[in-house]
């Protein structure tokens, strides 16, 4: 008589090998998430052409120095701005008017005022230039009287009056680089994780839902007529789902890291998140298998569940910032906790940072998966 492990392996390998040759499984596990993450990561992170050109006319003054060494340098470093230096204000005005520069910063010869030249066609560039200038001017020691004026080209505002106004209202504006905060992950990784977890919930259906297919095809009865206990069949199907989930997630981590520049964080932490995320997905599909009457119904339910969990869980856009019920609901999804695990590892945190999210994923898996396995076990006994 064969050992339980030998039976489970025989059952697992027959199914798993078939799935690897099954086109629809490969599409959902590999091709679709890879294609989507490629497109989306270019959309969110954007190629370098989005750097904003800004011209500067600098005087020999502390403000100029602070500007050039402080915010301008750092914005240039992280590819937000391209800074070009002009000799005189006239040339810069022309460049901004012509659109060669999207905004201009002129530090007056006396070093006491800064004029920001904006182009109505490029409001974002103007806002950045203005914010940069204002914060610099107000924080430079000894130039408390420094003023900043914003002058929209083609407009008729009086620079001096505008400067007075600004100073009166001044509170130091901040230019915060959203990609550098400790509670955000870079957009490419976020997109890759979102797509990977989204498609994971489609991919795992290929193991456990096979129970319903085999029941209909009659091969399940034939297996159970042999000296094979029902639990071994269930375990083998769960393992197929699990293995397919790992293949899909592993591929997505590797693909996005190597080809798209994603940075998932500490590999051990990522591995823990992947294993517990796949466990949660397999638990979900087990419950669906236990509740559905036939393979078609199960496939439809699983697709609906994957879609809802994916959207609510923030696979496409974060729900956490939506507030209210959405922010609450998103925390019920495995997708949210997977992403949250990655977020907590940013800023150089090691794998221990994922403990909370991993616990949440495993809790989800237990709550959904235990009744799921009981019900799926009935599919085999019926």
């Amino acid at each position: 008589m064969a050992s339980p492990a030998a039976h489970v392996w025989t059952l697992f390998w027959r199914d798993f090998r078939a799935r690897l040759r099954d086109r629809s499984a490969i599409v959902l596990a590999i091709l679709a998430p890879a294609a989507l993450v490629t497109v989306l990561s270019f959309l969110v992170a954007g190629p370098d052409v989005q750097e904003i050109p800004v011209g500067v006319v600098a005087a020999d003054a502390p403000v100029s120095e602070a500007l050039e060494q402080g915010p301008l340098a750092s914005l240039q470093d992280d590819d937000t701005l391209t800074v070009t230096t002009y000799d005189d204000e006239g040339a810069l005005r022309t460049a901004v008017t012509d659109g060669d520069e999207e905004a201009g910063i002129v530090v007056a010869a006396d070093g006491r005022s800064v004029i920001v030249l904006t182009n109505p066609g490029s409001p974002v560039a103007g806002a950045i230039a203005e914010a940069v200038s204002r914060s610099t001017a107000l924080t430079v020691d000894g130039v408390g009287q420094a003023v900043v004026a914003s002058q929209a080209l083609g407009g008729s505002g009086d620079p001096q009056a505008l400067a007075q106004q600004l100073v009166a209202a001044a509170s130091p504006a901040e230019v915060v680089d959203a990609t550098e905060g400790s509670d955000a992950i870079d957009p490419r990784t976020q997109v890759a994780a979102g797509m990977a977890t989204f498609f994971l919930f489609f991919t795992v259906q290929f193991g456990v839902l096979g129970l319903l297919e085999e029941r209909r095809e009659g091969t399940l009865a034939r297996i159970l007529a042999a000296p094979v206990p029902a639990w071994q069949v269930l375990v083998s199907k769960v393992l197929v789902s699990f293995a397919l989930g790992l293949v899909s997630m592993g591929f997505m981590v590797g693909f996005s890291s190597l080809l798209l520049g994603a940075d998932w964080g500490d590999p051990l932490g990522v591995a823990l998140l992947v294993v517990s995320g796949v466990t949660a997905a397999v638990a979900t599909v087990s419950l669906v298998a236990g509740l559905a009457r036939n393979p078609e119904q199960a496939g439809a339910i699983q697709a609906g569940v994957a879609l809802v969990l994916g959207i609510v869980g923030g696979a496409f856009f974060s729900m956490a910032r939506a507030g209210g019920a959405a922010a609450w609901a998103t925390k019920l999804t495995p997708h949210y906790w997977f992403n949250e695990g990655l977020v907590r590892m940013t800023g150089g945190q090691d794998w221990t940072a994922v403990a909370g999210p991993v616990a949440a994923l495993l809790l989800f898996a237990a709550v959904v998966g235990i009744p799921g396995l009981v019900l799926a076990g009935r599919v085999i006994r019926a």
Partner: protein
């Protein structure tokens, strides 16, 4: 019957209001091929599912070689070979790989498994096509592989559920011959069918089921006796059929005789085999030459019609 291979006692199953199997009891002796004959919906498959331990039963017992078969327990499963009514194979795998898979579930591996698989492929005539995916097989070939997968592990009892449904006459014949050979090799076989001629050809004893109930059980002759049917002898003679009929009337065992035309006689007799020598002698004495003589024993068809009041249909 001394310690039967299969003993089924008081088996019952209902689906809601429908009593699919109703107090079914029978035994299959070692080496016997037993037929369960009944129309579609009679409860054959439901009975077999319970016998194999695949379906919970409402009541009753099943024993194979003294081992109780129960759902949820794998005891005794290796004693049974199960050939389901539908083709239960993996179409993407080759015929051989299907057999390798099922062999492993019965604990067969290595050289032993290979030998058993080769032998079984030979029996069902699929050696040549063993490497091809099952999806490319004809319906008849799939049916034969379906049987092969159930008999690989040399079970004590092979259960075949309508194994010839929907295939060409040639494949059907090959399957019937293979089953007959298994019976001769000493394996016990439980064979369900709704084809009268298959039951007559393969099985010494037959149980007739309808609406979940076993209506009659016995050898063909016992069943026929049940409905008081007679053998029919058709004789073609050289002439004077009326005179010949007159002569045959003198034999006690002849129940009825008619001359259907000048050269043809139709006789009803109780048992043709014992009567034939005297019948031929009587015609000879009457000076009537015999051109042709045929004996038709009563078929299960008429038995079925008699018991259920309806003809067995396909």
């Amino acid at each position: 019957m001394a310690s039967p291979t299969l003993r089924v006692q008081g088996l019952r199953k209902s689906f809601g209001d429908l009593q699919a199997v109703d107090d079914l009891s029978f035994e299959v002796a070692p080496g016997e091929t037993f037929g369960l004959l009944g129309p579609n919906g009679a409860g054959k498959t439901t009975s077999i599912s319970m016998i194999c331990g695949l379906l919970d039963r409402d009541d009753g017992e099943v024993e194979v070689e003294g081992t109780a078969i129960r759902p949820g327990s794998i005891r005794g499963r290796e004693l049974i070979g199960y050939v389901p009514q539908e083709i239960a194979l993996y179409p993407e795998l080759s015929g051989r790989d299907n057999l390798v898979f099922f062999a492993r579930l019965y604990g067969l591996k290595g050289a032993e498994a290979k030998a058993r698989i080769d032998e079984t492929l030979e029996v069902v005539g699929l050696t040549e096509r063993a490497g091809d995916p099952v999806v490319d097989y004809s319906g008849g070939m799939q049916r034969r592989l379906n049987i092969a997968a159930g008999m690989l592990h040399q079970p004590r009892l092979l259960i075949l559920d309508e194994p010839t449904v929907g295939i060409d006459p040639q494949s059907r014949n090959a399957i019937l011959e293979a089953v007959a050979a298994l019976g001769e090799s000493g394996m016990s076989v439980l064979y369900t069918t709704h084809y009268m001629e298959e039951a007559e050809r393969l099985c010494r004893r037959v149980g007739i089921v309808d609406h979940g109930r076993l209506l009659a059980l016995g050898t063909r002759r016992e069943l026929v006796a049940l409905v008081d049917q007679h053998d029919r002898i058709t004789i073609r003679v050289t002439g004077q059929a009326a005179a010949a009929a007159e002569a045959l009337h003198r034999l006690d065992e002849v129940i009825q005789v008619d001359a259907t035309d000048d050269q043809t006689l139709e006789c009803m007799v109780a048992t043709a085999s014992s009567l034939l020598p005297r019948l031929v002698g009587e015609l000879d004495r009457a000076g009537v030459g015999i051109v042709d003589l045929r004996v038709a024993e009563p078929s299960l068809d008429s038995v079925f019609l008699h018991i259920t009041g309806t003809a067995l249909r396909d």
